[in-house]
Each structure stands twice: as structure tokens, then as C-alpha cells.
Amino acid sequence: MTPAIVVFIYLAIVLYIGIFAFRRSHASGEDYFLASRSLGQYVFLFALFGTNMTAFSILGASGLAYHRGIGVFGMLASASAFVIPLTIFFIGTRLWAQGKRFGHITQVQYLRARWECSHIGTLIFALTAVMLVPYIIIGVMGGGQTLQAISGGKVPYWAGGGIVALVVMSYVFFGGMRGTAWVNMFQTLMFLCFGTIAFVLIGKNLGGFDQVMQRLAANETTAPLLTRQRISMQEFFSYALIPLSSIMFPHVAIMCMTAKKASSFKKTVIFYPICILLLWLPSVFLGIVAADSIPGLKPGESDGVILRLLTANTDVLLAGVLGAAIMACVMASDSQILALCTMFTEDVFAYYGGRQRFGAQTQVWTGRAFVVGVTLVAYLIALQLKDKAGIFELAIRFAFTGFAALAPVMVAALYWRRSNKWGALAAVLWVIVTMVGSWYLHDYSTAVAPKAGQPPVQIFPALGDLFLRTPGSVTMFGYLPVMFMCAGSALLMWLVSLVTPPPSTATIEKYFPPKTIAA
């Protein structure tokens, strides 16, 4: 029970941070939703990193590495270490600038103003909101499952999920963006510190990692885990596009608006790859170590390997602290809840006249009420569909692809004067249609899906390798759909914008002011 007590202490600290942030807050919408655009460079770095750090980056990555080997790090982590900071550099900084100059808080607000559109903005709001919801549900489910596991079953799933939902809801409700950013920073630092200590202790207790690796290399079943033989080159290549999704996630884009100064981005961009390295390397490495220490786990079961290694190889108190840190990652739904609430109050409530009619203070309280509503609904769904977590995990994977395919829309808005709302509409419809199509193909081919380690299967033999089914996904000629979706989205954005009228000159000049000539 000691680890569970440590987790409860952690939850109390997190709650206190939220209440402390509440004391520092003002009554304005910009303060609640964006912490008055006041985050300094270190809070900004760790909060942004923490926002992207989810249960998947800890539990999922080690579980995947357990079956597919070291390539998981290159496929998911080092690709992100390169692409995410690049998108922050090229997209995040510009979004921040537009937000600072014109008071935008959400992506949709910016796109509506940039392209003089109303309903297309609402469509983008609806699409992004739908893709965000599974995240929130998974967060509550993960909280319930982790607390149940850490307490050895003494805290049941329903109570664990309820406690996590209540804590997250409370600090988001009170602290808004400031509380969420501080909590994310605390979580990131805690995980990086105690994760490193646990990593060293696990290695010592297992008799040194070199011994483990020698055993893995000597066994012909596990030796491929030390190479990338269980990942195809096409899959590895196309995975590099998935991190484009990061900047398109509303919680990340909104977080970019919170920076106090443009210079806050500099340290974030440079140190982001190092943070990824520190978090993911132990996670993937321990996944491979577990293949030696705890062999024979099935795909779903392997997500718990880090918790098992911790329990078996570290002091009970440290296992509790690390359990709390893992809990922190599982609870990463805080930013998503706040983002959804910000989007609702800004893109729907305020946009359709709510702020004008009821005032800014009512808008903030509407946002808070929305936080309570969303968390409650997520909790009820998590209770009802306890055994259907796979559906939501799948939805999240599709969401990553969908958000990545929306990246060309944002690039066009920020860098191409001629881009317009019709191009954006075409690209968004393309993303919706291809996502639905991919989901259908995934569902249709479930019965013929090969098992881990087996080669891909043709879904329609008459079409050859056009649509292939791998154990986890549908591919086209071996490449993930994200590649074709991004290309199609960019092409449609370009073509349709060219054949339809551009935005007015006044709007173009507003967002692309002529460069001032130095005197």
C-alpha cells in the first residue's frame, strides 16, 4: 500500500499547485486560458514538453519496444526530437506572434480571421474537438488502472478513475492555464529525476545491463530486438511525419500562445530533443530489458512492463515515487481538458455572441463549468466502457494521423498569402474522408490481421500491395496513410486556393505587413 500512499501525496501536491495558481490569477479570460501570456522560458519548456508527455511515451513505448525492439526509439522518439522542435520553430513562434499582435487565443480564432471565414472555422473546431476527446477518456481510464495496479487492487478501478478525474478537474478548474503549466512542469521534472534514479537501480539489481544484453543477443528469439528487423523501412520512414501532429494538437498550439517573449521559444527549441532523449531512451531500453526479465507477455500486457520492473527491482518507496511519476504521465489529459474548454468558450461561446451578451467574467465561469462537464462525461464513459480502452487507443492513433495531415493547412495560413478558406475546406474534408476510410479498412481487415512478427497481408488481393494489413495498422504499399494524407492535404490546399478568390487585400496586409525598411 506504500506506493499508493505516495501517489496520494503526489495528487495532494498537484491539487495544491492548482489552488496556489488560483490565488495568483485575475478574473480575465486571457489570464485563465493563457496565464496572461506570461510563461517564462523554463516553465514554458517543461510545460510544453509535459503537455506532449503522455501515458504512451512511458508505458506504450516500452510495451512496443518489448515486441518490436530498439527501432521504436528511432521511429517515435528521435523523429519527434527533430520534427517537433522544427514545427515549434516554424509554426509555434508565428502562432505566438499572431496571438500577441491580434489577441488570438486558439487556432480557429486565427484561421477565421486570417481567411475571413465563419462556418469553416466551426468545422475545424468540430474536427479537432472530436479528435481530442478520446485522449481525455484514456487519461481517466489510465488513472483508474494505474492506481488499481499500484495499490495492489485495494483501490478499485472506479474509485481510482474518480480520484484522478476529480484531481485533474480541480486544478484545471481553479488554476486554468497557469495551474496546468505549473503542474506539467512539476511532473516533467519529477519524472526526469526519479526516472533516472530508478533506471540505474534496476540495472544494478539485474546484475548490470551488459549481462542482460548479452543474454538477449545470444537468444535467437530475442536477438532481433537489438536491431530494427521487426520494423519495415517504409513504416520507419512514414512514421517521421507523425510528429507533425504535435503542433496541430489544440493544447500544444494554445500552449505556444502562453509564452511571455519570443525568446522563450529559443531554449525550448534547443532543449526539446534532449528532454525527449532523457525520457524515451530509458523507456524503450527497459522495454527490451523486460523481454529478458519477464518473457512471454502478449501485446496488451506488455504495456505494464515498466511498472513490473519497478516493483521487482526497486525500493518500495522509490517504486511509489516512480508510480506517481507514471501517474503524472497518465494524467496528461489536463491540457486537453483545458484546451477543449478554451476552444468551446472562445470558438463557440464568445464567437456566437456569448461574451458580448454576458461579459468576460461569465465566459470564464462558462469555461470552468465546461471543465466540470467534460470531466464528468469522460469519467462516466470510462466507467461504462472499461474494457473497450482499445477503441480509444485506436482513436488516438487515428487522431495523430489526422492532426499531422492538418499541418499543411496551418503552414499555408502562416506562410502563403494567397491561401484561402476554400483551400482549407478542401483539405479538412480530405482529412475527414481519408480518416473515415482508414478506419473502415482497419475494421474490415481485423479478421485477416497477421500476428506480431508475421508479414503483412493484402486486404484486397485484386489490388496487390495497394492496401496491406500489418499487425497494428493499414498501410499503402507498406507506407502509413499519414504520408498520403499529408500530401493530399497540401495538394488540395494549394490547388483549390489557386482557383478560388484570395482573402481581401486588407486582411492579407494585416497578416503580412510590408517589411519596414531600416532608416
Partner: protein, 79 residues
Amino acid sequence: MPKKLLLSLLVLAVFFLHQDFWNWKNGGLVLGFLPVGLAYHAAYCVGAACLLAVLVKFAWPAELDRIEADRDDDSQPKS
């Protein structure tokens, strides 16, 4: 060579280095415990950080600093 072109080529080169197909089947260990492919991508992360430091140093958009300066001017009390 113009600075923009050089930096673009550098970004492309780093992207290419991510696809280290030459390590695909290499199961060797670095320092006796770290698989070669994993060590390579760990070093790649450090390399990516260096590239980003170069971009921040040489390609940082000046207009962002202007916005910052404008805001600072706006927040100064007017006499």
C-alpha cells in the same frame, strides 16, 4: 552559398541521417550494453539539438523580436 539555402540543406541532411538504413541489422553493442541502433539515435537527438541551436542562432526571425520590442514599448508608462 546563401545562408537560407545552406541551412535548408542542413535540415534535409539531418532528416536523411534519421533514416540510418546502414544500421538496420546491426546488433552490436556500444560500451557493452547499448545496442548500436539505439546509441546512434541517442546521438541523433543530440545532433538535432545542435542543428536547432544553429537555426536559432542564424535563422531566428527578426520580426519576432520586433513584436517583443513593440510590446515592451507599449507597456512603458507614457509621460
